[in-house]
């Protein structure tokens, strides 16, 4: 077992033991069920939300409506809560000196922690997406779903589109996680590591609500976060996804590069 894997395992166990994250995962598991149960018990539908009008017609609308909500503020929050203190918790406990004087290099420590944070973030997205899909299918059914081109899509294809839509939001969600890691390393503060990316996410979301310069919006993480919409159209289009993936990868690479440099340069002699 390599040292990076060893660090990953330790970090994974530390993340899994956090009451905050356990509670967060429980919420992600339960919330979609409560949401669709409440929708089914009322007359009105959220018709001004994409796929909201189909919530009672097909269970596959549930994960798509949840995805629309999640891209607005839930994903930045998930990424920050998980990744915002993976590094800075060592500062808070004064344990850098201890962990780095073991037979683990800084590089191995860095990649092990990043891998654990990214894996937990992906797990959170998968849990929410799977729970929302199961809630929709169990409480509404697996009827065909009308896509944004006005075409009725059979259940199996609709399920495939739902899975693909949740899959393509992972790069921008991981970009938020990388941002949280960078802030956590630069500030050595868990509070800032969690808060700053959430605030950045909210600012980006506020910009999306404004009728401002479109080109700026194209380079915000909201664009790749919502690029899945074109995949479920007739005919489907992938331009926003292709450009959005480049944007997400740019945020990801820049944040990781800054984090790596800062982590290698930092002085840990103080503990």
């Amino acid at each position: 077992m390599s040292s990076t894997t060893a660090v990953f395992r330790v970090e994974w166990r530390k993340l899994a033991a956090q009451p905050r994250l356990r509670a967060g995962f429980a919420v992600l598991l339960i919330a979609p069920w409560l949401f669709i149960a409440l929708v089914l018990h009322q007359d009105r539908l959220p018709v001004e939300t994409l796929y909201g009008r189909y919530l009672k017609d097909s269970g596959f609308a549930t994960p798509l409506v949840v995805l629309v909500f999640s891209t607005q503020w839930i994903f930045p929050l998930i990424a920050s809560l998980i990744s915002g203190d993976v590094f800075s918790s060592e500062d808070a406990h004064g344990t850098w000196k201890t962990v780095l004087t073991r037979s683990v290099s800084r590089g191995e420590m860095f990649w092990g922690k990043v891998a654990a944070a990214f894996t937990a973030t992906v797990a959170a997205v998968v849990v929410l997406g799977t729970s929302a899909t199961l809630a929709g299918v169990a409480l509404v059914g697996s009827q065909p779903l009308v896509n944004v081109g006005g075409v009725l899509v059979p259940a199996r294809s609709a399920l495939g589109h739902v899975a693909l839509s949740w899959l393509v939001v992972l790069p921008p969600v991981l970009a938020f996680a990388a941002l949280a890691i960078a802030v956590s390393i630069l500030t050595r503060s868990s509070v800032l590591g969690v808060l700053v990316p959430v605030v950045i996410g909210l600012v980006m979301q506020m910009y999306v609500f404004l009728n401002a310069w479109d080109t700026v919006r194209h380079v915000l993480l909201n664009s790749p976060m919502n690029a899945w919409r074109g995949l479920f159209d007739t005919p489907a289009y992938t331009d926003p996804l292709e450009r959005g993936l480049l944007v997400a990868l740019a945020y990801l690479a820049a944040s990781i590069a800054i984090s790596l440099i800062a982590f290698h340069r930092r002085d840990i002699t103080g503990g």
């Binding site: 018709v47 001004e48 994409l50 796929y51 009008r53 009308v146 944004v148 081109g149 006005g150 075409v151 009725l152 999306v208 609500f209 404004l210 009728n211 310069w213 479109d214 080109t215 700026v216 919006r217 909201n222 664009s223 919502n226 919409r229 074109g230 159209d233 007739t234 289009y237 331009d239 926003p240 450009r243």
Partner: protein, 150 residues
């Protein structure tokens, strides 16, 4: 390196940003094209729900205008579209729709007068008519960049 290269490295992305910034994501062409296509598909669905023989409506044209940016007809917000179509029996219709366009290239369309219209399904149930309310999305990078100003 050429002496101008650093300046070019700065100017080219800025110029690209400025030029591409001149084309709004939400254009009249994109809204009109997508509302027309989606309405036609929703009409087919309306026929399917009622178990009627599939006879697509002939959409003669769609005219849309932005409620916010009335000069250029561009940008998100509330739009109004008039869909002109002919039913299979030859009846001509000009139906108004409020189209709520978000800044990410998707919209919700609601019929002006028949917002809560229902049709009778094969099971005898009254269900919302797919023709009078629908969602749509369009590619904000396609070539339909025309606005009223252009």
């Amino acid at each position: 390196m050429h002496p101008l290269s650093p300046r070019l490295l700065f100017l080219v992305p800025v110029a690209t940003l400025l030029v591409s910034g001149c084309t709004p994501d939400t254009t009249r062409d994109r809204v009109e094209h997508d509302v027309t296509a989606t309405f036609a598909n929703q009409y087919v669905q309306s026929e399917q729900v009622q178990s009627q023989p599939l006879r697509p409506a002939q959409v003669r044209g769609t005219e849309c205008h932005s409620g916010l940016n009335k000069t250029a007809d561009a940008g998100p917000g509330a739009w109004h579209c008039t869909i002109s179509w002919t039913d299979p029996a030859g009846g001509r219709h000009d139906d108004g729709y409020v189209v709520l366009v978000d800044s990410l290239g998707c919209y919700q369309a609601f019929s002006d007068e028949e917002r809560d219209a229902t049709v009778r399904s094969a099971d005898g149930l009254a269900v919302p008519d797919p023709r009078v309310g629908f969602d749509g999305c369009y590619d904000v990078y396609d070539g339909r960049t025309g606005t009223s100003k252009a």
